[in-house]
Symmetry: C2
Subunit: 363 residues, 2 copies
Amino acid sequence: MPIVDIHTHIYPPAFIELLRSRTTVPYIRNFPDAPESSRLIILPGEDDPSTPSTSRGRPIGPEYYDITQKIAFMDMHKIDTSVISLANPWLDFLPPEEAGEAARRINDDVDGLCAKFPGRLYAFGTLPLSGSAETVVKEIERLAGMKYMRGVIMGTSGLGNGLDDPALDPIYAALEKHRQLIFLHPHYGLPASVYGPRANEYGHVLPLALGFPLETTIAVTRMLLCGVWDRFTNLKVLLAHSGGTLPFLAGRIESCIKHDGHLKKEGKIESRRDIWDILKTNIYLDAVIYSEVGLKAALDASGADRLLFGTDHPFFPPLEEDAQEWHSVNANYRAISKTFKSDQEAAQAVLGTNAVRILNLHT
Amino acid sequence: MPIVDIHTHIYPPAFIELLRSRTTVPYIRNFPDAPESSRLIILPGEDDPSTPSTSRGRPIGPEYYDITQKIAFMDMHKIDTSVISLANPWLDFLPPEEAGEAARRINDDVDGLCAKFPGRLYAFGTLPLSGSAETVVKEIERLAGMKYMRGVIMGTSGLGNGLDDPALDPIYAALEKHRQLIFLHPHYGLPASVYGPRANEYGHVLPLALGFPLETTIAVTRMLLCGVWDRFTNLKVLLAHSGGTLPFLAGRIESCIKHDGHLKKEGKIESRRDIWDILKTNIYLDAVIYSEVGLKAALDASGADRLLFGTDHPFFPPLEEDAQEWHSVNANYRAISKTFKSDQEAAQAVLGTNAVRILNLHT
């Protein structure tokens, strides 16, 4: 039975060049005080010049761009097939006039990487979202014809106003028409003020552990509230990090909707699909949640046929220099094995057969 | 077997007077265009003058301040005992020199309300947190001697710099010494910018459904990261709304800590209690989560002996004018009854006997 990793990132060479050419976030740089170490700075606030360069962003090596390292990582962790996606922040930061061409170049690159390892690699494409909706729709149509593309990765900003922006409707319509799912992934987190004055003492923990999942939860709730899935009933979205916090908060979200005086006055409470229906019909969740508690909640919310194994490689590598296997990956393997200890078929579904079926993979 | 509601709020008459005397958030006012309706404006952004007054904040009636309405609500929902607490924003907004006296007045008021219904009402006290740590410690010592007080309710701002502020240590020490638990409750939510330009179209849903639980999660994670429970190993904290999102995200938080290069360099990864230990030793969770999915995750994270039934009354009333029972309350009852359908003893524990034991109630 195949093991498929649907949450695994790459910066293909064309994207690395782009990041090296820049001087504001996102960028890659070798700082003068540590010239041998390349640092990847992608999160807002990570380039605070008052912190030593070795604390800014993260070290970046070939595991980020060399596809043979991806394959070696897959071999080490017994992963048969990976559905690779460009890591955040994708092309959100590009001037509109450059976005379309950059997306084409990167998608061609990534499809080419997949072609080198047939059956082992598929991909989610990148959209030129800083461009116009027309440019985006064109790229969706192009992706639909590419051999190894199986959907698109998307951040939470959409065309700049979030995923509840009506200007996205042609894009959602094109994705629905071409049966391409959205892999919805966070990047922007929350404003630094919410973490308080001591946040820097905690490394990257608060923005990564909380900001990311909260950003995803807000984005998907906004999609829900603006009726995306009432208008596009076949639009499928795979949520990163087991939905952020959506499975846990779904009951509260639904209750807050049902008790909102404004929504009632507008007649918006009854005329909509409820969150549990959407969770079981339109939403898939990855299994990147690092605990049995979280994975069980994701399972209860979405069902074993809608959960998909992932690793988040190359992020969260082991800190020990002599480490081989990745603790972060094994934590997710362990959560699956504990959660499904008495249901091997469900475990296999989450580990791979769901991905094969949902994404039409030939492993 | 008793049913005990540990999450139920009141604005005692002295607090209502205070809110009526004010013109900036928080305040209570009858607007000229609807003079018969009092509006309670407590959340930042709720008093946008461009929205009609009937959409600002929420209508406030005697259910907020009349203790006989609390008792009637308890009777209707078969609640034997309520542990009442001042609703947000407590006294966070008061000038420092007024805080101590206001806290004494309000705590005396609330203790007096409890005395009118012996066995049916207990309370969490209010702290003068805009004052000095000394003033707060004095009030904690006074509360420890009051007949119906069983802990304190606290927001996430502490003395103004969050709950990871070392200046809170004397307060944590006093609470630990007097065995008073903290009922940690959100109020401030997240900056409005995170909800995007269309947020107002969704009523209060985004700040209430997401902002509140996310605020709680950030606050408790900051406590954890700064080592509050390493220094105060017997400090007990009851988290509102089943921990915000803590049960679901605990695995990711723990994984992010273990993979943080900065924390490792500082030697902070190994020398700490892990999140699961703290969840089973220092943290209690209320059962105000409105779904079986969420309640099961809370149960898996903390254990059936650490979950406590609550209603959040008088918030989330039914919107139908002729409604009797509250859907919001019944959603939480239903989640408990489904989650514990084959374990009546655990159901009773969550519904009441945990609260009796943990808070030393005489029902």
